[in-house]
């Protein structure tokens, strides 16, 4: 089957987590017993994964979050031999779900002090924690010094440099209100006031990094105030102004587009077209799906046949607008990526190295009783008045029923001409767990994008990718100098064979996820590389021409491209 898939689609996946020594199983938090009748719905998130080469050995490692009290987070270090070892406990970042401290929801890596080592931010339903990377040998808890919020019920956080001062800042998006301790409820009035326009969720935090390990809350003065129910966020220079804009996918509401003008944000979702129709936004990620040098934004929602037909959104920017202007059209169904089921995390990546950005989307909300569904009970509450739905006690008990569970995953291959084809079952992506976070990483430095999927109350899966050797690739490892050292926000436009494609380094995107730092471009069969234009967060623009295929090309800001060996077998 694998050979057939490779010959037919150019790739095949094999789930290898146990062979790779990864036996992580997510455990959901157990919250206040007042929520017991609908506990599966409330405690339905927390499986996150973030990729980083934390020890700078040239091989991607990853961190996975757990959520039950006493459960351990894992930091899997790449052994370079196809296996991983959990070093979280040894390095001090395992026991983060202690009683009273909240439950981990996800994590993102970022070098906030530009010392060359990526530090670790864990966001929770609880107090966020910041751990300083001590040269890849241990982590030091610097939360108290950092001036992070006391408590945030967050399901997303990203690193980015919103003011382009060369120091990484933090965005944290609240879901439940920050005055709610889900383990010790004072009231059950915690639910959304509306299924479509709820604005009683958690507040947002924009924490400006000073570069010394301390952060300043600048949310209000930066204009980033919102109380929508944030689940996904992605930053990028979507308007071509040089400053990173911020797109937030909100549950129970519209997607927000915060335009960044020299460090000040303004919500313009309606004007740009994406903030109009309310849905159940879970994920926000960006990819150049048409090889136009611009990025489309993918927002995942809920689609359940016969019941709820929200469809996922693929917001594709119109061409020909002036710099600073952007306008999006939802082409998800036109291009074939509208139906993702009860979708959660999604990630773009050229999985078959054919030169076009493909899309993986995981899904499935609650898999319990295979025969019984909660949808009828859910329909009663979704249509009710705000006074009823905002009190969790009025929600019908789940009684072990499933809610869009056991769903098949989606992997859409992009023909680069505006059409995607769903092939997940054909290429080996066959699990039906309740997927949450999804990331890409070249775990074995083979020039292929592997998939890591974190499942709620399920195993963390590693899908090892086998790609046809006919297809070439190139990767970029960027390091900032005037910009933040991680080069988060840097955009590379690669030109080859008359094509071009844009990719951006992000400090987290999707749903509770951060994909690998290196940028991976598939090139197809006959790759004549022309150039790569790098737009650094500082504003500097660098054109690189001496590029090498089937290799990791390291580029340092204001320096020349210098292909170097970084440990990968095929690197040069």
């Amino acid at each position: 089957m694998r050979e057939n898939a490779v010959s037919r689609y150019g790739l095949a996946f094999e789930e290898v987590s146990l062979q790779a020594g990864v036996d992580f199983e997510h455990q959901a938090p157990k919250l206040d017993q007042k929520l017991a009748p609908i506990m599966p719905q409330i405690a339905s998130m927390g499986a996150g994964v973030a990729v980083c080469d934390f020890d700078r050995d040239g091989w991607d490692d990853f961190y996975a979050t757990n959520s039950a009290v006493g459960s351990q987070n894992r930091l899997y270090r790449n052994r370079h031999d196809g296996t991983f070892e959990d070093v979280a406990a040894k390095l001090g970042v395992a026991d983060l779900n202690r009683q009273g401290s909240g439950a981990s929801m996800g994590a993102v890596w970022g070098d906030y002090d530009n010392d060359g080592w990526d530090d670790l931010l864990i966001y929770k339903w609880g107090k966020p924690e910041l751990w300083h990377n001590e040269a890849g040998k241990s982590f030091q808890n610097v939360t108290d010094k950092a001036n992070l919020p006391r408590w945030v019920n967050a399901n997303n956080a990203i690193w980015f440099d919103y003011d382009r001062d060369g120091k990484l800042d933090i965005f944290i998006g609240g879901y439940y209100r920050e005055d709610i301790d889900l383990w010790n409820l004072k009231s059950t009035d915690i639910m959304p006031e509306s299924f479509e326009y709820a604005q009683n969720g958690g507040r947002k935090y924009l924490l400006r990094g000073r570069g010394d390990g301390t952060f300043e809350d600048v949310t209000k003065q930066a204009g980033l105030e919102s109380r929508r129910w944030a689940l996904g966020a992605v930053a990028g220079d979507f308007r071509g102004t040089g400053y990173p804009d911020l797109v937030i996918a909100n549950d129970y509401g519209i997607t927000e587009f915060f335009a960044n003008t020299k460090g000040h944000f303004q919500e313009i979702g309606r004007q740009v077209g994406i903030g109009f129709a309310p849905k159940s936004g879970m994920n926000a990620c960006a990819g150049d799906v048409l090889n136009t040098g611009t990025q489309a934004i993918y927002i995942s929602n809920i689609t359940e046949p016969n019941i709820l037909n929200q469809r996922n959104n693929l917001w594709v920017p119109r061409e020909g607008l002036k710099a600073g202007n952007v306008r999006y059209d939802n082409l998800a169904d036109n291009m074939g990526v509208g139906d993702g089921g009860w979708s959660f995390g999604a990630v773009f990546g050229d999985f078959n190295n054919d030169g076009a950005q493909d899309l993986y989307c995981t899904n499935g909300f609650i898999s319990a009783d295979r025969q019984k569904t909660y949808w009828y009970d859910y329909s009663k509450i979704t249509g009710a008045n705000t006074a009823i739905i905002r009190d969790a006690k009025n929600w019908p008990a789940m009684n072990g029923n499933s809610l869009s569970g056991f769903q098949t995953k989606r992997l859409w291959l992009n023909d680069s001409l505006g059409s995607f084809k769903e092939v997940a079952q054909n290429i080996g992506v066959t699990d039906k767990f309740d997927g949450r976070a999804a990331v890409t990483a070249d775990l074995w430095n083979r020039g292929t994008l592997d998939l890591i999927v974190a499942n709620q109350e399920g195993p963390l899966l590693i899908y090892k990718n086998s790609v046809t050797p006919e297809h070439k690739w190139i990767q970029f490892d960027l390091r900032g100098q005037g910009s933040n050292r991680d080069a988060i926000g840097a955009a590379v436009t690669l030109f080859w064979d008359g094509k071009k494609q844009l990719q951006t380094i992000t400090g987290g995107e999707g749903f509770c996820a951060q994909k690998m730092h290196r940028l991976h471009f598939g090139l197809g069969k006959t790759a004549k590389l022309e150039k790569a234009i790098v737009r650094w967060p500082s504003g500097a623009v660098q054109t690189v021409t001496n590029l090498k295929t089937n290799a990791i090309n390291s580029i340092t800001e204001a320096g020349k491209a210098a292909p170097v060996s970084t440990g990968g077998k095929q690197s040069v």
């Binding site: 009748p37 169904d333 009828y376 009970d377 249509g383």
Partner: protein, 322 residues
């Protein structure tokens, strides 16, 4: 389904076609345009505020409904029909159906209009056209069709808007007794379902919570639309005030049966039947009207026939005069 309300009957035996087809000679405003105007305003308000509709799909449904109306009217009566009824059938389909394809909108609109001409008895169509079309789609094309679980927000201002427009319409039609009967019956049945639910059996605050869960749907905007604009549809309700109240009660009773089945669907071992019941429950108001409405019409027509026979026996001259 929403918008057939207040449109004078063009195919109903209760309103002679001669009277309906006569174009008013004065410049007096044609009352048949009131309902389309109201529904169009609601649609525009919804679209500008919520943006939940795909206008291309809605327009395709309206277009299909109008074309079907013209063609079928020409075939069956040879006359060019008044298009208000078809327009609002199309707009109803556009509002209530949710799918990413064009064809369900067009098929649903075509079924709705065709049902008016085909499913008739004693010169009167039995089903609310768009209600019939939507239920047909939910059963026959369920993989590609959904109704809107969510629309118009859950907050109060949407309810205020609907009540404002609805009250105006119902005041004109003098049909608030239908709304009141349905609301009272729904709340009573919600209490009954809550009382015998596991939570309700605990009594006290739990009973109240169980009641709110069962009564939840009627407190949202979608049901306000249903109450004001669907069950009051003059073309598919019976003639007398008392009869109309009985029909409203019957619709609520049918919904009670459906919801009770759905609440207890776990007792059915057959997965297909279980799914069918859940499907009925999720779309309970549509199916309750689908089942109760025609039944009431049939009973009324049958009753009238029986009454006419009695009158014929007693006084043939009276009948011919009528």
């Amino acid at each position: 389904m929403i918008s057939e309300t207040a449109v004078p009957n063009t195919t109903n035996a209760k309103a002679p076609s001669v009277a309906v087809e006569t174009v008013p000679k004065t410049r007096k405003f044609d009352q048949r345009y009131v309902a389309p105007i109201i529904v169009t305003c609601l649609l525009i308000a919804s679209q500008s505020q919520f943006g939940v509709l795909n206008l291309k799909f809605t327009l395709s449904a309206i277009f299909t409904a109008i074309v079907c109306e013209i063609v079928l009217s020409k075939i069956t009566t040879g006359k060019f029909p008044h298009l208000a009824s078809a327009y609002i059938s199309g707009i109803s389909v556009g509002i209530l159906i949710h799918t990413q394809f064009f064809w369900p909108f067009m098929v649903c609109a075509a079924i709705s209009i065709t049902s008016k001409y085909v499913l008739r008895w004693q010169g009167r169509h039995l089903w609310n056209p768009s209600n019939f079309g939507i239920c047909a789609m939910l059963i026959l094309a369920h993989e590609n069709t959904a109704t809107l679980m969510q629309q118009w927000d859950n907050r109060n201002y949407a309810i205020y808007l609907i009540w404002l427009v609805g009250a105006f319409t119902i005041y004109r039609l003098k049909r608030f007794h239908i709304c009141a009967t349905y609301i009272a019956a729904f709340l009573f049945y919600a209490f009954v379902r809550a009382r015998f639910s596991p939570l309700g059996l605990m009594g006290g605050e739990s009973l109240l919570n169980a009641f709110w869960a069962e009564a939840g749907p009627i407190t949202g905007p979608m049901y306000q639309l249903f109450i004001f604009f669907m069950i009051t549809d003059p073309k598919t309700t019976v003639g007398t005030k008392r009869g109309q109240m009985i029909v409203a009660f019957a619709v609520a009773t049918m919904e009670m049966l459906i919801r009770t089945l759905a609440n207890n669907a776990g007792a059915f071992a057959d997965t297909n039947f279980y799914s069918f019941i859940i499907n009925l429950g999720i779309h309970a108001p549509y199916f309750s009207l689908f089942l109760a409405g025609p039944l009431a019409n049939v009973l009324e027509i049958a009753g009238r026939k029986a009454a006419i026979k009695i009158v014929v026996v007693e006084s043939p001259s009276t009948v011919s005069a009528a």
